[in-house]
Symmetry: C2
Subunit: 347 residues, 2 copies
Amino acid sequence: MQIKRHKTRKVKINDLEIGGDAPICVESMTNTDPHDVSATIKQINELASAGCELVRIALPDLKAAEYVKDIKKETDVPLMADIHFDYRIALAAIEYGIDSLRLNPGNIREPEYVKKVVDAVKEKNMTVRIGVNSGSINRKKYPHPTPEALVDSAFEHIKIFEQENFFNIIVSLKSTDVLTTIRAYEIFSKKSDYPLHIGITEAGTQFSGAIKSSVGIGVLLYEGLGDTLRVSLSGNPVTEVTTGYKILQALGLREHGVEVIACPTCGRAEIDVEKIALDIENSTSNINKHIKIAVMGCIVNGPGEAMDADVGVACSKNEAIIFKKGKIIKKITHNQIKDELINAIVS
Amino acid sequence: MQIKRHKTRKVKINDLEIGGDAPICVESMTNTDPHDVSATIKQINELASAGCELVRIALPDLKAAEYVKDIKKETDVPLMADIHFDYRIALAAIEYGIDSLRLNPGNIREPEYVKKVVDAVKEKNMTVRIGVNSGSINRKKYPHPTPEALVDSAFEHIKIFEQENFFNIIVSLKSTDVLTTIRAYEIFSKKSDYPLHIGITEAGTQFSGAIKSSVGIGVLLYEGLGDTLRVSLSGNPVTEVTTGYKILQALGLREHGVEVIACPTCGRAEIDVEKIALDIENSTSNINKHIKIAVMGCIVNGPGEAMDADVGVACSKNEAIIFKKGKIIKKITHNQIKDELINAIVS
């Protein structure tokens, strides 16, 4: 079983392909002070280690744009500058080596300034994301941020770029409302083959936000929509990356690291399933190979229910069994669970 | 914008309606020792307080079934017994006042025993959930737990009940694999109008499991499928309930308590958005009225981006503004944020 992806044209940010048949990209964004260069570099590299493939940084002023030069020296992951209104910041960021821009050309207003930006990105063969959200639509025309308003707003910005013969575009249409967001992407994708950046904007605190993002991004991906994604969460952005991969993994769209399946436990469980599962999750977090590990609290149903797991453990009160693909390979004691599971994974 | 739900027939567990036009029900399951009556009662009531509308308890033996009598005295929330294989436990649970059963009649094997159970549930006008999962399908017929295998297995159990003229049935078809689960419900719902209990089985540790469940349950709900749900997570089952409501809320299917939208923060944020959002989330967790609260790190975009929020705060370095439905109602200092937000909510 596999999801059939909506066909989009492919764009590139350095060597990173987005759209077409390229794997769905996982993005994030720094939340360090843009004038604190060393903190920003540190966070970018933490994000890259977690598997982030494209890091966005806000550039609120010209000074921040200048720092791009220093940041680029210390990291290999492609960087996208988030720019609002001021075309001079865009030009500076390009000059100092940024790899991509997120910029809505309609916000720059003056056609001659738009042309300057387009000329600069064209010269470097860059890709630009147009990022429409509930806050960026024309309130006079659309008093409410409906899906149609988001889509129309995106096409207004697209038109400005297309008039300049610029087509290396990624589009996002984000609302804080999940249904509005889904509907906007559905409508847009019927009218356009530009690659889509998907996400739910201002999704909330880590746990609540992860749920809301998983629902919204999950539905879009299931419908075949989305070429690159960002899970927006408050707090340490590394969680955005791990959450992004978990969403993709749930739908079989990408494999990344260890996946621990724990049975939800019931009155029949005779061990602390959660503790063992968390233990395994923590002690395998640096494994990049994709492995499915099951921790089951019941020796009777365990191996059968977790037949698809590469490796698993099922426990009764007095013993435990290690199984691989549903086949029991070893009887062990409770003390041996963690070590034997890790052994079974690496062997 | 609203999701159109798949039309199912309605069943009842006491006064709780499931299916048809009834609100989508949020379930959970105890994980206390079924012989520890006071711990089980305590957990059932904690689940009920969190909004759980149907609590399942595992009854592994006759002793556990007898305790149903004591448990029923101490709680009003409907209880469903989870029973495997042994029809005597089912009969005992019914005798001692259980409100519903989760039981796969094919597992009881002997037709005369099945008839005894059906007679007993019919007499009390009870509803039974048939719960098929990857571990319960016929491995000889289906070496792999495909969606079709899950659906066929469900219909085998349904047939046994229907032959006894019993139709008060809820059906679940759960796999640990999200795509298999979604596809199974899609296929089943085209062939049947029995109400559906949805969920992803053994979904994992709290954070990973919540993501996987949100994706799977989210897609099904978006397709209009699901009349009652359980988010299966290891650990304290109260999280299953809060997660369930957050999923329903994300799709506009139910409103429950306070929803805090926090902007994901970027280099422009001048306050600790996550800290304020968590503070607000914690100090409003006992409010049952549905309210959308926004915490925005940027005074320029904040009120516009969070126009749909009932109440919100947006902050610059030196001041903050409280807004309602996008309209600024007050300028305040940072120290006043929490109190003024709470004031704005209750007023």
